[in-house]
């Protein structure tokens, strides 16, 4: 594949097909005569277009038969210029009465932003590739209001959890719908193991998109925005439009190359202590790696150094050697695209390659994207488009997190006295593990090099559409889309791995398929000079199919042979589900005098997953946009340049998963036990069946979400300052939930319609251009998002519902009258002083009654985006601030409990008095704690006694310098002497710095559950996240 890619780039340089077309050149200026950089120049009625250079110049090949250029620029009036008799023009755009911004809305319909009655954010593809993330979703971080994106780990290709306007659903429908070129695509994150025990994050479905292929991403936030998509977009939608073919300035085929090379290293290094060696109770123990409660390290001689067992002097290893153990990751991100277009056809072929090695030894990821996007204008009445993307992802060495898996390597796995170099080599000639700390622990290099975590994923996203325009204002479009994902995983433990001593492997293969068809008719009509109507009617068919097969094999004979016949015990598994949804929808836009638009929509769905009598459900929406500056005839001479008010109300219905309605017996392969100590069926040759644990529903209704939104777009001072504000509220009722019922009924849950979740919030964007001169432009944007999720009611008598369960007695629960909160065991506290009560027998803190500790969701998020252009240099920086929410960190628990970090240096010698504590005098009074623990080791080790979680629950607030990009664009004066039409080089950095955090030692963004579950707020042995620094070169010719 790499060779093919190189070949394509080579061929690209050779390709510069010549077409005889007329070239028009010119300059675009503002009224002050300053050059407008990046203005759009388009040949009317075609897809031929270009953008202006840094000096405002452009050059465009105008196909024969075309004569009108359309020049547009945000904040300026669009102009049409007849060039039939001219080949050189200078155009001055007037600063905008009309904000002609076109955005992509539901079903891929482009609308003028001013006509929308709901909030929408659109991000240009350039923004996504400026400081490239390997996951396109991450590139939105900090840039869009109402959207929170959480990186879950530092694994290559790891998933990111995306929430639009907060969490609104108890039933897990909190993930937005991803739509690419009008076709829904799956963003599923499917776990091969338990999400908490040895979880491997192999990424989520949408992360395969090549950022270089993206023309724009629209974030549809409210239900009114997504009403035509229906249920699946109840949590918002991300509408991705891929790039289409355009010709170069000279009218020839356009080739563009974008290459980044990037180094990744650890983003956060724990504040390790170096003063005390490994061991326990101040006694050195060569086997106690990752447990630094030994003696003070003064370079003393010991009879056995760790791992080697040789006598020698203890050394202090900086940062416990993790900077040596974790490698410098390397990423090469290359994209090559060729495109062309004229009035008859357009196409773009793109080849992307992402080749990465991770910070974990042995981790790598290779992704290749091949895409074609093409369109043909068959006649004035008939157009067709088709697109196909083939994406191949191969990854190796994905790290495990959670617990109960020998492959977990966390920041607490290292001691201050062990140089990781001693682990090499990890295997002898006979294939035995060597250089492990003890016979019962694993050499981390063995884990990384001998145990496999492989994924081989093939994805096809294809779409085709036909548009038939029999009349000028009447059009019919039929779209068919297909999303196919074939995912193959192999997870192995080599024989000789401690804790999996006999070796095992797991094969997990699945196909995830989605077929989507839309047929849409549109008609628009001017009823009078002032009043127009646009109508849309459509029909949707959507089918999703999931098929999975796999095998778990234990106890291998031949170490590296992963065949079922080589295992003493094999358990196959198989799963299948399918669901179908039909939808009929329509919308009417009424526009009065171009400043008042009222949009009414309705959709009826028929779902296969609901009972036959309730499977049909209808939901409406209404939204309105009022450009009051136009209505009042404000000419922009005052401070207010533009003002729009908007309001919307929408309802959305939602179905449930397949196969929820019947009572069944399930064939069982596993009898579960504590600590994952399961046994398998057939057991003693016997098969096993069990009833399901959920009582099926009697008369299940569709879920219903109601949402309200009001907002305003205001621009001041000739569009130099913009404010966009939204207030929203959603009420999610009739949630379809497996409601916990008393297990004493014989069942654990009852599937039913229950509860209500209200999410209220507001968001605003302030966009300012404080400086705009010929050589210097400074644009700054602040976006602020707040969403409060409130569980208004659960079922009668039910106080809380489990959303996700983790280890150590912490659960993420929805609390009636509260939010999504972390439940765990606190310290027992004196109710008056609030101080922890100490056990008078041993000086440890006592455990209190299980309680919730607060919301796991942020209070607000804020992004601060700055772009400065100084002549040919542009500098961009994004700061990302998350305020509030809590996280329970088991990594911190391990670092502190094992004496690895600096706070454990206090009172290392002698006894340890917990001065925060009080002792119950037994008469209702308390005294300051006077019972010391025997050692600081005992203190730090006792904080989680009796599963107490409180000591490791932190405020998850953070401020990160998310990205910096510096780009130098070669001036046209130099470019003109080359065959390039554009050439720029840049420096890019992501996750540059953690500016503020209340969680010690780790990245506060880490999450155990990955993107596939609503498990926020829990971290356990996560793969450390990375900081990236890279260079970028991009060229167009």
């Amino acid at each position: 594949m790499r060779i093919l890619f190189t070949l394509m780039i080579f061929l690209g340089f050779c390709t510069s097909a010549m077409y005889a077309q007329r070239t028009v050149t010119g300059t675009v200026l503002d009224p002050a005569g300053e050059a407008l950089i990046g203005a759009n120049v388009l040949v009317q009625g075609t897809d031929v277009g270009t953008i202006t250079e840094i000096d405002g110049s452009f050059s465009i090949g105008v196909p024969a038969g075309s004569s009108i250029l359309v020049i547009s620029y945000t904040g300026f009036e669009t102009q049409e210029v007849d060039v039939s008799t001219r080949s050189q023009i200078d155009i001055t755009l007037n600063e905008g009465e009309l904000l002609d911004e076109i955005v992509v809305t539901a079903l891929g319909i482009e609308k003028e932003a001013k006509s929308l009655g709901y909030g929408i954010d659109q991000i240009d593809g350039d923004e996504l590739t400026r400081a490239r993330s390997d996951n396109v979703i991450n590139a939105l971080q900090g840039k869009v209001t109402g959207v929170s994106i959480t990186n879950t780990s530092g694994n290559l290709g790891a998933s990111s959890k995306i929430l639009i306007r907060g969490a609104t659903s108890l039933s897990g429908n909190n993930d937005p719908l991803f739509v690419i070129d009008g076709i829904p695509m799956n963003n599923d994150q499917i776990a091969s193991n338990s999400r908490i025990a040895g979880s491997r994050d192999f990424g989520s479905g949408a992360s395969v998109i090549n950022p270089d292929d993206v023309e724009s991403m629209s974030i549809l936030k409210g239900a009114a925005a997504t009403a035509l998509y229906g249920a699946r977009a109840a949590a918002g939608a991300v509408i991705i439009t891929t790039k289409r073919g355009t010709s170069s300035k000279s009218g020839n085929a356009q080739v563009s190359i974008n290459s980044s090379y990037r180094l990744d290293d650890l983003f956060v290094v724990p504040d390790y202590q170096q003063d005390y060696a490994q061991g326990s109770l101040s006694k050195y123990d060569s086997s106690a790696i990752g447990f630094d409660w030994g003696p003070r390290n003064v370079g003393q001689q010991v009879s056995a150094l760790p791992v080697t067992g040789q006598p020698g002097a203890l050394t202090r290893v900086e940062d416990n050697g993790i900077k040596d153990f974790f490698k410098t990751g390397f990423s090469a991100i290359n994209n090559f695209a060729i495109s062309d277009g004229n009035e008859k056809m357009d196409y773009r072929v793109s080849l992307g390659a992402l080749n990465q090695t991770g910070i974990l030894p042995g981790a790598s990821l290779d992704r290749y994207n091949v895409s074609l996007n093409a369109g043909v204008t068959h006649s004035p009445m008939l157009k067709s488009r088709f697109g196909i993307q083939f994406i191949k992802t191969d990854s190796e060495g994905t790290g495990a997190s959670g617990a109960n898996d020998p492959n977990i390597i966390s920041v607490a796995s290292f001691s201050s006295t062990v140089d990781p170099a001693v682990y090499d080599p990890w295997i002898d000639e006979a294939g035995n593990q060597i250089n492990a700390a003890t016979p019962t622990s694993n050499n981390p290099l063995w884990i990384r090099n001998e145990n496999r975590n492989e994924r081989d994923d093939s994805r096809v996203l294809a779409n085709m559409s036909l548009t038939f325009t029999p009349l000028d204002r009447l059009a019919f479009t039929a779209k068919v889309g297909y999303d196919f994902d074939n995912d193959n995983r192999l997870i192995t433990n080599r024989k000789g791995t401690a804790q999996r001593i006999d070796g095992d492997f797991r094969i997990d293969k699945f196909n995830n398929t989605q077929v989507n068809t839309d047929i849409i008719g549109t008609y628009s009509m001017d009823v009078s000079d002032d009043f127009s109507v646009a109508a849309l009617a459509g029909f949707n068919y959507n089918k999703r199919e999931f098929e999975r097969e796999g095998l778990t094999a234990t106890s291998l004979l031949v170490p590296e042979l992963f065949a079922p016949g080589n295992a003493e015990q094999t358990v196959p598994n198989r799963a299948f589900s399918e669901q179908v949804l039909f939808g009929a929808y329509g919308s009417l836009d009424f526009t009065y005098k171009d400043y008042l638009t009222v949009t009414v929509t309705g959709r009826n769905d028929w779902s296969s997953t609901l009972p036959a009598n309730n499977r049909s459900y209808f939901y409406p929406s209404v939204s309105t946009a009022f450009v009051f500056t136009d209505a009042l005839g404000l000419d922009g001479s005052g401070p207010l340049s533009y003002g729009k008010l908007r309001a919307s109300y929408a309802e959305v219905g939602n179905d449930t998963g397949p196969y929820q309605l019947d009572f069944n017996f399930f064939p069982i392969t596993t009898a579960t036990g504590q600590y994952g100590l399961n046994v398998n069926f057939p057991f003693a040759g016997r098969l096993a069946f069990s009833k399901g644990n959920t009582v099926p529903p009697e008369n299940l209704l569709p879920e219903r979400q109601k949402s309200y939104e009001v907002g305003a777009d205001l621009d001041f001072f000739d569009y130099r300052l913009g404010v966009d504000f939204s207030y929203f509220r959603t009420e999610n009722v009739n949630q379809i939930l497996a409601l916990p019922i008393p297990q004493t009924t014989g069942f654990g849950s009852l599937l039913t319609n229950v509860g209500q979740v209200n999410t209220t919030g507001f968001e605003f964007t302030i966009d300012a251009t404080p400086i705009r001169t010929k050589n210097l432009t400074w644009n700054t944007t602040i976006n602020f998002s707040k969403a409060d999720t409130k569980v208004a009611e659960l079922a009668e008598g039910v106080d809380r519902v489990l959303l996700a369960s983790a280890f150590n007695s912490v659960q993420v629960v929805a609390v009636a009258g509260g939010g999504f909160e972390l439940l765990g065991i606190p310290f027992l506290r004196d109710t008056i002083s609030g101080r922890p009560i100490i056990n008078p027998n041993d000086g440890t803190r006592l455990a209190g009654e299980t309680r919730t500790f607060g919301s796991v969701l942020p209070d607000f998020t804020m992004g601060f985006v700055n772009n400065v252009t100084i002549g040919p240099v542009s500098i961009g920086a994004t700061v990302d601030w998350r305020q509030g929410g809590i996280i329970r960190s088991s990594s911190v628990e391990a670092l502190q409990g094992s004496g690895l970090v600096t706070e454990t240096l206090i009172n290392r010698e002698g006894t340890f008095l917990d001065t925060e504590g009080v002792i119950d005098n037994g008469d209702g009074t308390f005294r300051d704690n006077d019972v010391p623990l025997v050692s600081s080791q005992a203190f730090w080790g006792s904080l989680n006694d009796n599963s107490i979680a409180e000591a490791y629950i932190f405020d998850a607030t953070f401020v990160k310098l998310r990205e910096i990009a510096v780009t130098y664009s070669f001036p046209q004066s130099i470019i003109n002497k080359t065959f390039f039409s554009n050439l720029s080089v840049g420096l890019e950095a992501r996750n540059v710095a953690l500016l503020y955090s209340k969680v010690p030692h780790i990245d506060p963004e880490a999450s155990l559950f990955g993107a596939g579950a609503d498990g926020f707020g829990v971290e356990r042995a996560s793969v450390p996240s990375t900081r990236s620094l890279g260079v970028n070169i991009r060229a167009t010719f």
Partner: protein, 479 residues
């Protein structure tokens, strides 16, 4: 207009997605069954009950009756975590009882030919409710397992649950006595006795005696029931022991050993994960009981690491539970004949039963010594018959001890006999107070653990759940 034709054709094709309703009628899972034979449901019940029992109660709370010195995530200090309580409760009510009640309903519907299945379901129900009440005291019984009628089941007091369990066992025995010649074959589904209903009858009657002994601690009016039960067949030979067998294959092995291997390495004797509790170790070693060598290994004679204490790292640090016990194929023991023999000795000493207490006691001793000394399936260490006879012969006679000491001796043997059965052992020490157990160091309660707290899920979903008593509050049966 060629293209118009193509377009029209395309539209037509899109609309020929059969009829809507037909396309929507696909909501039936092809990989599940709407009904299941008891011969496949019962194996799930047996194995799930056993594996959860071993991993949750066994590996976590053998230190409560102090048979082990310390267990991971143990409730010995008075705090019963939500996972321990939740997993155990869930296993009993939804996985075991929830399936058993369906098996029972099907068997009732099928009539007398399914009496055997009906009886097995009832015996296992009785066992489950008895154990649930032994752990939590008041638990739903009369209103349990019928969510349609009782969405929030009331909790019944312990006496009701215990007596109700006895009644279930009586029903089961009556059903067994009425099994017709043409019966459903349950040999495959019955993982304990392979469908031998005469052994189920012995087990049911023996289980009834175990429960009546608990009730008797509070109410001696059950003495006549006990007398009657002892006149019926009981488990009286190790070949009749109620066992769930495990195997030396990777995914069919007993979890005590899998825990050691999964988290530490090969062999408890090397890893020292489980060490004997002091009372157990001391009783055996002071009596020079030959069982000591079958249950423990202690090369350097350092003894138990002490109450609530794990062994320090390193070989020879102290006594460990032997690999004769902690091995892949050690069975999960539900009941041994020795327990019934010792009850017989106890009741004879107290004049409830007529006969010879010494003989019953000696029988019990011989049964338990020969069980650990070779009759347990897969035994690795043996005790010769001669050694067993010599040991029993060397014990002072009960008569020579006087009534009180004789009773204590029987209770001590009941305590030792209950090894590897955490609920039975816990019941025994709470019922007899023999041996007197000190609370472990660092405990938050005044005695050894006496009960579990109710699991948070039940508390949250069932308003009838009683408030939790402190976990050192004795239960009804404890006088």
């Amino acid at each position: 207009m060629n293209f118009t034709k193509i377009f029209a054709l395309s539209l037509l094709m899109l609309f020929t997605v059969s009829s809507c309703d037909e396309a929507l009628d696909i909501n039936t899972n092809p990989l599940v069954a709407s009904a299941a034979d008891p011969n496949v449901v019962l194996p799930f019940v047996f194995v799930q009950y056993s594996n959860r029992h071993v991993t949750e109660l066994g590996t976590r709370m053998m230190d409560v009756p102090q048979h082990f010195s310390a267990c991971f995530n143990s409730p010995r200090g008075g705090n019963t975590s939500s996972f321990l309580t939740g997993n155990t409760w869930n296993m009993f009510y939804t996985q075991v009882l929830g399936n058993l009640v369906l098996v029972e309903e099907d068997a009732i519907e099928a009539g007398a030919s399914s009496n055997n299945i009906n009886a097995i379901a009832k015996v296992l129900k009785a066992l489950s409710f008895f154990e649930l009440s032994s752990i939590w005291e008041s638990v739903p019984f009369t209103e349990a397992l019928d969510g349609a009628t009782f969405p929030s089941p009331q909790f019944d007091d312990q006496e009701t649950v215990f007596r109700g369990s006895v009644a279930l066992l009586d029903e089961a025995m009556a059903l067994i006595d009425a099994i017709p010649d043409a019966s459903v074959n349950v040999s495959s589904g019955d993982l304990i006795y392979g469908g031998d209903m005469s052994l189920w009858r012995r087990y049911a009657n023996s289980l009834k005696i175990r429960i009546l002994m608990m009730i008797r601690n509070r109410d001696t009016s059950v003495d006549s029931q006990l007398s009657a039960a002892f006149s019926q067949p009981v488990i009286d030979d190790n070949t009749q022991a109620a066992l769930v067998r495990y195997f030396d294959t990777p995914a069919e092995s007993n979890a005590y050993n899998r825990l050691v291997e999964a988290f530490f390495g090969i062999g408890n004797e090397t890893q020292g994960v489980y060490a004997p509790g002091e009372p157990l170790y001391d009783l055996l070693s002071e009596a020079e009981d030959p069982r000591l060598a079958t249950l423990t290994v202690d090369p350097d004679g350092n003894g138990s690491p002490g109450n609530g204490t794990f062994l320090p790292f390193g070989a020879g640090a102290g006594a460990v539970i032997s690999e004769n016990v902690i091995r892949n194929d050690v069975p999960h023991i539900l009941m041994l004949p020795s327990e019934i023999s010792f009850y017989r000795a106890e009741l004879t000493l107290q004049g409830v039963l007529s006969g010879d207490a010494q003989s019953a006691f000696d029988t019990g001793m011989a049964q338990i010594l020969s069980f650990w000394g070779g009759q347990i399936p897969g035994a690795r260490v043996g005790i010769s018959t001669g050694a067993i006879d010599a040991f029993i012969g060397g014990l002072p006679s009960l008569a020579s001890l006087g009534q009180a000491n004789a009773l204590t001796t029987v209770h001590e043997q009941l305590y030792l006999e209950s090894f590897l059965r955490p609920i039975v052992a816990w019941n025994t020490v709470r019922r007899t107070k023999v041996p007197a157990l000190d609370p472990p160091p660092g405990t938050t309660i005044s005695t050894i653990l006496k009960r579990f707290n109710y699991p948070p899920n039940e508390v949250a979903s069932n308003p009838n759940t009683p408030a939790n008593d402190p976990t050192d509050t004795p239960m009804w049966f404890e006088n």
